[in-house]
Point group: C2
Chain length 339, copies 2
């Protein structure tokens, strides 16, 4: 049984139903915007990924997961934004494959991929705004748009920061963590906040409790999101390629300075003296990955990630037991990816 | 006195105030998102362009233009989307200069430009959603998000269509017009609709009249938007470069089949037989532009655009006289660009 399945089970039968509705809607969107979108983004949006973010949306709404249209829309919107960032990332990286299939940029070129990403971003906002009936529905929809727009702005800022910091060997741990927050964790935060917001529509909870739940679930999401990115950065160094599906050291080759490298440079003066721009071949990148591994930096990096996950789980004592247990499973799932 | 100034005068002193607030807000946004956005997009969003779309937003709200926060936000959101599309277009075209300054892609590279465009898109939605207080405010905000999201989706679809049709010599007039609608006119439509929506907040008009005004102003915007694109395509063939600031035939060089070329190929069998992909140098492109001009296709293309503008102006009889007169001036301004 997959980790996601276990979490869905913990969320109750309704979680499964809502996730199925999310899948259905994603398929509709992949096929429903004419042949151009279908050709370019059908794979990315219809058949992709672990659906971790929609799952966070669902479970943040409550357990049993409330089967509301608003919740499905929020989950779809978050996954569309995720898909949009993947499509644009692939343009920037020039990646040829994602999830074993040709990327949009590989099959359609840069122009098609840029436009496809833009289309997915705007569809996400259209999806959120398709809801809203009655006064409090409209108020929640406006709040949802605010949450998603803020996350999208921060994701783009994170990309700019990564670009700006490329090949800068002096990047600090703090700046690295802020980059992880911006380029990855803010969408986990938004997923949890949007779920909590949609869940509030189905409950009788008062405004102060609702705001407090949205805030603590958002922080939970942000912390596991940072941990997710840190563990991703470990995998880039540790591989092995047959498991990750990509060669080791991609971050080194595009100049992205990650926590394993920062810590390894503190421990190994040869690494500290190495010129990052001289790492230009897969062989050389793999060698540097081995050196990073030899310093023990991967283990100390992993400790940081696990601390974040433990801290995230400790943020949820106010939640009902079943919901807390389901979200704990998601947090553990982020770590299991690495194990 | 510039054409825009004349229109602003027609919109009353309040139009000037609102447009000044739009400029102020654009400057704030250029400077207020950290050094990365300022470096990359400051020029594009703070100092650029004719502000034709914000002007349409303002005048669609009514004359005298109501000085509401919602109207300023709507105008800023539309201009941010316009700026986002410019930044992404420049990535795709690899353009080095826009409005006489280096493009984002030229100064920051493709990655920075893609992320900057994404940031501008998400800021547009954040700007719309920053409003909304009280029930009917929230309802209008949700409707505004819907209008803008739809326009953004269509803009991206238009880009995909242009890419898909590149170097396809058999593109029909109908398909060309649909592409103009998608890649350009839908944002003019959204500008007018958002203005009408914001204007309705300041008036006592009933729901049916409001919906009818939004619809007819949207169609007005769409028609002058298509005319705007057609005239732009004429300028690409006609130049002269010292006036347009760019060499003639850029569309020919990137395979974009426009109305002047379609009509010229119907009139000139040599042109009809020419292989579009063989046009690869600026000299050859200029030659083909001359051939297109010699067929009279520029004049018949212009007739189409003028018919659209005249038709657009005829759509507004229900509007108050001063508002109609101001919008007529904008429509004429679209044509004057060419004259």
């Amino acid at each position: 049984m997959s980790a996601v399945q276990a979490v869905v089970d913990a969320g109750g039968a309704a979680a499964l139903k809502v996730m199925e509705r999310v899948e259905l809607r994603m398929s509709e969107l992949a096929g429903g915007h004419g042949p151009l979108l279908e050709r370019h983004a059908g794979d990315t949006i219809a058949a992709g990924g672990k659906r971790l973010r929609p799952l966070l949306v669902c479970l943040s709404a409550g357990v049993p997961v409330p089967e509301s249209d608003g919740l499905v829309r929020a989950a779809v919107a978050v996954e569309l934004v995720h898909a949009a960032t993947l499509v644009h990332d692939d343009v920037l990286d020039g990646s040829a494959l994602r999830r074993g299939r040709p990327t949009v940029v590989a099959s359609g070129g840069r122009l098609a991929a840029t436009a496809t990403g833009d289309l997915l971003f705007s569809r996400a906002f259209a999806e959120l705004a398709a809801g809203g009936s009655g006064e409090s529905g409209d108020e929640r929809t406006v709040e949802a748009v605010r949450i998603l727009a803020r996350a999208c702005s921060e994701l783009a800022t994170g990309e700019l920061m990564q670009r700006s910091d490329a090949w800068v060997a002096t990047v600090t741990v703090e700046r690295y963590l802020e980059r992880c927050r911006l380029k990855t964790a803010v969408l986990f935060r938004a997923a949890c906040q949007l779920g909590a917001l949609a869940g509030a529509a189905s409950s009788t909870t008062g405004q102060p409790e609702r705001d407090s739940a949205i805030e603590s679930l958002g922080t939970f999401g942000e912390q596991i999101g940072v941990a997710f990115q840190i563990l991703d950065d470990i995998l880039d160094v540790a591989g092995p390629p047959e498991r990750t599906g990509k060669p080791r050291g991609a971050d080194l080759l595009d100049g992205t300075v990650t926590l394993p490298l920062i810590l390894a440079r503190q421990a190994d003066s040869n690494l500290a003296a190495a010129e990052l721009r001289s790492i230009t071949t897969a062989e050389r990148a793999a060698e540097v990955c081995d050196r990073i591994g030899a310093t023990g930096a991967l283990e100390s990096t992993k400790v940081r990630a696990l601390e974040l996950v433990a801290g995230a789980k400790a943020l949820l004592p106010e939640l009902p037991e079943r919901q807390r247990a389901a979200l704990d499973l998601v947090a553990d799932g982020v770590v299991d990816r690495y194990a």
